[in-house]
C-alpha cells in the first residue's frame, strides 16, 4: 500500500498561473492545478476550450472517438470533468445532468431522465484504469493520477466539479457541496485497476462507518434542485441506499 499524500507532502511547484478565465470559485481550477502537480513537468495537455466542449465532446456527440481510442488502447490519460451540464453556454441539460435538476432548457420540471454513468461505460472497455474523483478531494485525485501513470493503454478519470452559476450556490460553499455529494453517497470516489473495483478516500471510510448523510442535505444546498418533491427525494434516497447496501455486502 502506497503512502497517501498529505497537504504537507504535496509538491509545491505550480504549473498554473493565477488570473485564469474560470468563474469565481470554479472547482475545475483546483482539479486542474492538483492534476498537473501529479503529472509533473513533462506533460502534454490537450484542452478543448473551456467548460463547454469537454462535456459536449464526450457525453452526447463524440463519445465514439474516446471509445475508439480506448478500444485501440492508445496510451493517454483522459480527464473528464463533470459539472453536470453545458455550463459555458448557460447551464443547459446534458447527459450527466442528474434527475430533477433545473437547467436552462428544463426550467419547469427539472430534468426527467437519469444521469448517464460515464465511468461505468468507460470501465466496460476493460481499461487498465478508471477512476471517479472529486474536486473536493484533491489529494485523492493526486494519488490516483500517481497510481495510474505506470499503467498501459487508456486511463480514464471522471472528476466531479461543483459549478457555482450552473448549480446555483454561493461560490464559497463549492468544496462543502462537493464533499456533501460524497458523504451522502450520491457520488462515489473509486478506482478500477485492471478490473478490480475499490472505493477510495471518503467513500471507503463511509463503508466502514456504515452511515450516510441523508441526500436531502445535498439537494438543499443548490437552487437547481428546488423543484424536487419529497417523493422524488425518497426515491433517490432509496436508490442510493440500494447501491450502498451492495458496497456493504462486498465489504463483509
Amino acid at each position: 500500500m502506497q503512502v497517501k499524500t498529505t497537504i504537507l507532502s504535496l509538491p509545491t511547484e505550480e504549473f498554473v498561473h493565477p488570473g485564469t478565465r474560470a468563474c469565481t470559485g470554479c472547482g475545475l481550477a483546483i482539479a486542474y492545478r492538483v492534476g498537473l502537480k501529479a503529472l509533473g513537468k513533462d506533460t502534454m495537455l490537450v484542452v478543448p476550450p473551456s467548460c463547454l466542449t469537454v462535456l459536449q465532446g464526450l457525453f452526447p456527440v463524440a463519445s465514439t472517438a474516446l471509445s475508439g481510442a480506448a478500444e485501440r488502447g492508445d496510451n493517454f490519460i483522459y480527464f473528464c470533468y463533470d459539472n453536470e451540464g453545458y455550463m459555458n453556454t448557460g447551464a443547459q441539460r446534458s447527459g450527466t445532468t442528474p434527475i430533477g435538476a433545473i437547467t436552462a432548457n428544463t426550467p419547469f420540471k427539472g430534468k426527467l431522465q437519469q444521469k448517464k454513468d460515464v465511468p461505468a461505460i468507460m470501465a466496460a472497455h476493460k481499461l487498465s484504469y478508471v477512476a471517479a474523483c472529486s474536486a473536493a478531494y484533491p489529494l485523492d485525485l493526486f494519488d490516483k493520477i500517481k497510481n495510474c501513470m505506470h499503467l498501459p493503454g487508456t486511463k480514464y478519470f471522471h472528476i466531479h466539479i461543483p459549478c457555482p452559476p450552473g448549480w446555483g450556490y454561493d461560490p464559497r460553499y463549492g468544496i462543502k457541496i462537493g464533499r456533501l455529494a460524497v458523504e451522502t453517497g450520491y457520488y462515489d470516489l473509486y478506482e478500477i485497476v485492471n478490473g478490480e473495483f475499490k472505493l477510495t478516500a471518503a467513500s471507503e471510510k463511509l463503508v466502514e462507518k456504515r452511515k450516510l448523510v441523508p441526500v436531502q442535505e445535498y439537494f438543499r444546498t443548490q437552487s437547481r434542485f428546488r423543484l424536487l418533491t419529497d417523493a422524488q427525494i425518497a426515491d433517490i434516497q432509496q436508490k442510493i441506499d440500494e447501491k450502498w447496501a451492495g458496497y456493504y455486502n462486498k465489504d463483509e
Partner: protein
Amino acid sequence: MGTRNYRRKTSHSEHGPGDGGRTGSWRVERPVLDQSLCIPCKRNKEACFICWLFCPEIVISRTIPPRVDLEYCKGCGICAEECPTRAITMVDEAKFSEEDKE
C-alpha cells in the same frame, strides 16, 4: 525566406499570470487573515495550509503567514469557508479605501 522572423508576424503569447486579466477586479469581498487564529502562524511551523490547497486561483501562498495575491484573488471565499479555525473572514471591498485597492 529562411531569415524571416515569423514569430513577429504571427500572434503568439508567452505564458504568465493574468490570462484572464487582473481578475482581482471581479472581487466583491476580500479575504482577511487573523494571524492569532491561523494554525501555521500560531505554531510557527508548517502545518494546515488548507487555504493554499483549496484556493482555485492559486493566490494564497504556502508560507507563514499565508499571503493572498489581491491582484488576482476573485474573492470566492472558499478559503474562509474551509479554514478550520475560521481565521479568514470575507470583508466587503467597499470597506477598503481607494488607495488600498490600487
